[in-house]
């Protein structure tokens, strides 16, 4: 341990001592980072979950306990590989420290041997999930501010790796939590049949209608491009057509987040474009079930996506300001900063509030959506959710008229072998 020899304030001394310690103690991390992530196929997860008993639950707990720190270690290495100046940026630094703390805590958690241990482990997982809520906005904020320091492909590929890994860890953790909760209960014969967090018969129309309802219950007022909130006379209707009885196996939270964000954008665009009109053209959502996947097309008349900030609709998925100039828009930065203290989990539930404005304890019964400033996370997160299991999200603009979003999600019941978590 070196001491700082130059004259400096105590804080500086401490910091340089800490970073030196940091460097030399990286060995623990190296140990974990050198391990391969042990991926399970989704088929294994589902199969495992169908025949749940105490012994299997303990096994699941220990798998999560040992697997997650390996994956976190990989991400810490990714962060360590970023340019020094980027990770010292306060928002990125905060994420770095959160990851370290999670890593250390997991490393030190004792093996689980019985249900009581599991219960403590579940509490631990929940706390950690909450603690990590600031990651998405902070990382987004930090990297947007550092966007000039990285080429766009590196920036986007780093963010994508971080976010995809995050989804995988959350899926494993939440799946385990759900399995723990439903132990002893027959979750396949309930009203909403599911195995862990995978709903085996997710009703697509129902999810669309639910998201539409939540969005249309919002108070009238749209933030225009100048940040001013203009009153609108209502929200457009959402008309669902196609194969209305489509049901498939998927993670409800993921599907509803994507639908919610896409509908939110469509409603905003429609409201702004037709502000002067007496009626608003509806948004058409077409649902189709293919053999191996489900296709959902959202068609709005919101004027399309052509703008000075981007060259093509896919730029909207990028975190780099060279591809999407709005990333360094002052309002966006401010909104991200505000969100990074509370956190963003990228779910619909966290956006639903009670009448008093606090987060709804039961999102199914919350009073409505809290107004929030636009952070620019909806589309990139939707894209990551959509592609996570091998699906796709494409935005196509009919410039001057409207936008079509094509969402394709694989049915998790079929072809599960190739999909790994």
């Amino acid at each position: 341990m070196q001491r700082a020899t130059c004259s400096s304030s105590p804080g500086d001394v401490r910091r340089s001592v800490t970073t030196a310690l940091h460097f030399y103690q990286n060995r623990q991390l190296d140990l974990y980072a050198s391990k391969q992530a042990h991926r399970l196929s989704l088929r294994q997860l589902v199969f495992f979950g169908r025949h749940m008993n105490e012994e299997r639950l303990i096994k699941s707990a220990n798998y999560v306990r040992t697997e997650l720190p390996v994956r976190i270690a990989h991400r810490i290495r990714d962060l360590q590989a970023l340019p020094y100046v980027i990770v010292t940026q306060p928002d990125v630094a905060k994420v770095y420290e959160l990851y370290w703390s999670a890593f250390e805590k997991f490393r030190r958690f004792p093996p689980i041997t019985n249900l009581s241990d599991n219960s403590k482990f579940c509490d631990f997982l929940e706390t950690l999930l909450d603690e990590h809520a600031p990651v998405i906005p902070s990382l987004s904020l930090g990297l947007s501010l550092c966007s000039p320091l990285l080429p766009p492909e590196s920036l986007d590929s780093f963010m994508n790796r971080m976010l995809i890994s995050r989804i995988s860890r959350r899926v494993l953790a939440e799946h385990h939590l759900a399995l723990s909760m439903s132990l002893g209960r027959d979750s396949l014969n309930s009203e909403d049949p599911h195995v862990g967090i995978i709903s085996t018969a997710l009703d697509v129309k129902r999810s669309i209608v639910k998201c539409a309802y939540l969005l249309r219950s919002r108070p009238h007022g749209i933030e225009n491009d100048n940040g001013k909130v203009i009153p609108n006379r209502g929200w457009p209707e959402v008309v669902v057509e196609g194969q209305l009885d489509t049901k498939f196996a998927y993670i409800r939270e993921h599907l509803e987040y994507i639908l919610f964000e896409l509908l939110k954008n469509a409603m905003r665009a429609t409201g702004l474009k037709h502000w002067h009109d007496t009626t608003l053209p509806p948004i058409y959502v077409t649902v189709v079930a293919g053999k191996d996947d489900v296709g959902i097309r959202l068609s709005d008349q919101g004027g399309g996506l052509s703008s000075n900030s981007i060259q093509s609709p896919s730029d909207l998925f990028s975190f780099s300001h060279t591809r999407n100039a709005t990333r360094i828009d002052k309002r966006r930065i401010r909104a991200l900063r505000r969100a990074s203290s509370k956190g963003v989990k990228a779910t619909v539930a966290e956006q639903v509030v009670e009448e008093d404005g606090h987060n709804a304890r039961d999102p199914e019964r919350g009073a409505g959506i809290a107004p929030h400033q636009r952070m620019g996370l909806g589309l990139p997160m939707s894209n990551i959710f959509a592609t996570y299991f091998g699906g796709s999200l494409q935005l196509v603009s009919l410039d001057g008229w409207g936008t079509d979003a094509y969402l394709q999600l694989p049915k998790l019941g079929t072809n599960l072998e190739g999909i790994e978590v």
Partner: protein, 436 residues
């Protein structure tokens, strides 16, 4: 001199072959005769000079104002620029692998280009309106004679599939088609201007400048093409969907109407056929359920900085499966590559079809019906729009046409429901600098 040489050679050859036949009894392979020396030299000269990149605005300028003098300037432009382009095409064909060049379809095409080149390159200068009238008639015939170039070459390439990679063939065809579009633009602009000058006293003011219509109405073109495709569809499949035009139907823009017609006809043909076939598959061919319409949404250029008119053709024809999406823009030869009609691509209505009229009409319909549709479309469209239709080139060629002035064409599909074709066309008055 030449005569003596070839006589001498053929004498040698026949002596040799006679000798061989007498001795060994096997055939000798002869390489084809080389081209006439004079023409060869002329071709080399022309091919060596790259074509002047002309912009659409300067082509249109011959007509603004249209006078005998400007018309004669136009004809001298035609006589210098078209041969250059034909020479480059001929050269490109000549540089294909030898074995490909010996294919009779490729050889036929090469000869056609060489002949047209020779005709134009050795044409005496046109100095009077009378001479121009004669020239224009001949030019018209020349353009007409090249109508089947692309299908002929494609047939040739199909037979040569093992000698060239799909990418090479694709690139070659792309270049050939773009070249063909240029030549036709230059030729037809001149022909149109000639006609206008002749009839100038009869016509009132018009928004047309030769082949460019400054106030081209997509809705009008859609209606016209829609009627044509509808008749074709009814005649062959027994029913046709209606077309609904929404968005901003009154939009107009500056474009070359014949290009728009081509694109729309091809896209509508796909949409109509898919819709009817999908409907039949679901409900049977005698069902009274209404056939879902094909909806075309027109959107005007949103701003002067983005001078693109967009439209979307939406159908409920069942869509394109993900495995076929990769193939819909490839030329017919790239799938299977066999000439046997038994090779069913099985890709549904939009899949590339084999050259020669055999249309891959979904699963379950007999080969005979499929062929009928293919043949009829090719015959029916021979009158107006060329024989390319019905051969599976609709999408890749439409895309080339759309991209020609800087636009785009994309297809998105909701597998199991229907497809959306998005076309963006650049208004040619804004892009007057578009090079041809």
């Amino acid at each position: 001199m030449t005569l003596k040489r070839s006589f001498f050679l053929s004498h040698i050859r026949s002596t040799v072959s006679f000798h061989r036949r007498r001795c060994c009894g096997y055939h000798v392979r002869y390489a084809p005769e080389p081209q006439d020396v004079e023409i060869s030299r002329l071709l080399t000269t022309y091919a060596a000079h790259p074509p002047h990149p002309i912009t659409l605005s300067s082509l249109v300028a011959f007509g603004q104002p249209l006078t005998p003098k400007s018309l004669l300037q136009s004809v001298s432009y035609v006589l210098s620029e078209i041969p250059r382009r034909l020479a480059r095409r001929a050269r490109a064909l000549q540089t294909l692998p030898f074995i490909v060049g010996t294919n009779p379809y490729m050889a036929k095409t090469l000869k056609a280009y060489q002949d047209s080149f020779q005709f134009l390159a050795t044409y005496s200068p046109v100095t009077t309106l009378e001479e121009n009238a004669r020239f224009t008639a001949e030019l018209s015939q020349l353009v007409e004679s090249h109508r089947n170039d692309i299908p002929t070459m494609a047939k040739g390439f199909q037979e040569c599939a093992k000698y060239m990679s799909p990418a090479q063939i694709s690139n070659f065809l792309d270049g050939a088609i773009r070249n063909r579009i240029s030549v036709r633009l230059i030729a037809e602009q001149h022909i149109a201007l000639s006609r206008v000058l002749e009839a100038q006293s009869e016509l009132g003011p018009t928004s047309h400048y030769g082949i460019v219509d400054m106030a081209c109405s997509p809705a009008a073109v859609i209606k016209m093409c829609g009627e044509f495709v509808s008749e074709l569809c009814e005649a062959t499949l027994g029913a046709a969907p209606t077309i609904v035009i929404d968005g901003h139907p009154d939009t107009t823009f500056a474009y070359v109407p014949v290009h728009l017609e081509y694109i729309l006809t091809e896209v509508l043909k796909n949409a109509f056929r898919a819709t009817v076939e999908h409907h039949y598959k679901q409900f049977g061919s005698t069902s009274t359920k209404p056939i879902p319409p094909v909806t075309v949404t027109i959107s005007p250029p949103p701003s002067p900085y983005s001078p693109f008119l967009s439209f979307r053709v939406r159908d409920q024809g069942g869509g394109v499966s993900p495995s076929n999406m990769a193939r819909i823009f490839s030329y017919a030869f790239t799938t299977a590559g066999h000439s046997s009609p038994d090779d069913d691509v099985g890709g549904g209505p939009y899949a590339a079809q084999h050259v020669g009229g055999s249309a891959a009409v979904g699963e379950g319909t007999s080969r005979g019906e499929g062929n009928l549709f293919g043949e009829i479309t090719s015959k029916g469209l021979q009158v107006g729009l060329g024989t390319i239709a019905g051969l599976g080139y609709g999408l890749p060629m439409s895309r080339l046409y759309a991209r020609y002035f800087g636009g785009s064409l994309d297809l998105f599909s909701l597998d199991g429901w229907g497809s959306d074709v998005f076309v963006k066309l650049r208004s040619v008055d804004q892009a007057g600098n578009a090079e041809i």
